[in-house]
Symmetry: none
Subunit: 246 residues, 2 copies
DNA sequence: TTTATAAAATTGGTTGACCAATTTTGTTTC
DNA sequence: GAAACAAAATTGGTCAACCAATTTTATAAA
């Protein structure tokens, strides 16, 4: 705790002032000396005092108000909001439609026999999952990632994986997932996947691109139906289908 | 105790930087940009950045050393990003060519007057940077990010930002950057940017897509010339130009 | 070439000056 | 005397300049 010669100056000042707050009968709401008063008293610059005040503020000792002064706080530590942005389902789908359709088109020119085999296996896995009433979307995700891998470009794989991470972290998407009981649409999406794979197998870029686009458009339309349009965060009307060049 | 509008400035900056540390693949011990670099990047004074650094140090994100710099600290706050993938320059360029050309095409249909103004300002900033012999690529990056923002889709912005993060973390790219002395090609790239902006201004999707593709193709060709083809990690022959549908 | 040393550049540390929001004080008006 | 308004003082907010520790680079010696 102490003894380290390399301790930063503002820390020492902060500890000194913290002791003063806890030990000299200050009560929450009481006015604390101003930055200038402390700097004058300790014979140091105000910036240094200010840095110490910042420590005391996030530690929950002080409440600093511009133009007014600093006041003793109740003692709740301030926590940083490090949360990553929360993307809406339809904003995500618009982005996926644009990016993944391009990726599928490119993959048609780079896909290998091995990629096709793995895609076929994943498609079979999807079919079984639906037959067995499995709820998760593991195979679905796997299918889309495999297409990215078929480009032989790990940046594109990483980008698609990131899109799925964004989906999994989307609070709105989670809410939407709870409303989905019917699984009839899953067979429809499975058919979509089969069409995509067939286009890739023929190395037909335009068909692959178009099939992926249509697949995500089908997903979008289904989600639009299943959505609670009354939800204030509903973003289905904000994001229209995306194409690189109409 | 919620997100009141009157949040203090240093706290917002601290949160921004904390997100950067947790979200951009930083590992304990990694060097973090200096106070001056951040202040320049964000266009604020160093004191403000310094206050944010103090918060980050207290919260266990950073380890600040006088005369040396700031380093990502080891602690529970830092998620163990065990793997920090290192992408090659040409693999990155191939991905960017595919994705950013699609994004530029889409942006042509969504761009606003305000977006165009900001793009024009950034273009002017690029011109001045070249005239003054500024070495960094800040304005270049800004231009590409603004095009993503012109789609009005924050997912696409985040994806493009991720591409630039990958570039900044690329060891091979850093090595390549050191070999580049001539700046004649920068005026060429500036012209490319002007062409892209002009296509966007006319809301011509196909031209915008094509212009962005050609721009990144020009970058690729230049880098191919400047590369040390003897480097065992040189990946220039592995990744050919990418198109969604030829 | 390797090592030792000094100069230069870079980095965080500190300070004082000025800006903007708030509070206090003074003046006017009824 | 009370209320309304304006002026002044006080407060934290922001900035640019300079200081000191460290690192990097250049130079000299072995």
């Amino acid at each position: 705790m102490t003894g380290e010669g390399g301790k930063r100056r503002y820390q020492e000042i902060a500890e000194l002032l913290a002791r003063r707050i806890t030990g000299e009968g200050y009560r929450p709401g009481d006015k604390f000396p101003t930055e200038r008063q402390i700097s004058l008293e300790l014979g140091i610059s105000r910036s240094l005092v200010r840095e110490a005040f910042i420590v005391l503020e996030i530690e929950g000792y002080l409440d600093v108000r511009k133009g007014s002064g600093s006041y003793v706080a109740a003692g709740e530590k301030i926590s940083l909001n490090v949360h990553k942005p929360d993307f809406g389902p339809f904003e995500l789908l618009q982005a996926r439609q644009l990016l993944e359709s391009s990726i599928a088109g490119f993959a048609a020119s780079t896909i290998t026999k091995h990629d096709i085999i793995k895609l076929r296996e994943t498609l079979e896995l999807e079919r079984k999952a639906i037959d067995n009433g499995v709820e998760d979307y593991f195979a679905d995700k796997q299918f889309h990632l495999l297409i990215a891998e078929a480009t032989q470009n790990s940046v594109l794989v990483d980008q698609v994986a990131d899109l799925w991470t964004k989906r999994e972290n989307s609070s709105m998407w989670a809410r939407l997932h709870d409303r989905i009981f019917d699984i009839s649409y899953r067979t429809k999406w499975l058919d979509d996947h089969a069409v995509i794979l067939e286009a890739l197998r023929h190395r037909n870029a335009e068909q692959a691109r178009s099939a992926m686009w249509q697949h995500l458009e089908n997903v979008r339309l289904t989600l639009l139906e299943l959505s609670d349009v009354g939800d204030p965060e509903f973003d289905g009307y904000l994001y229209t289908p995306a194409v690189a060049s109409p």
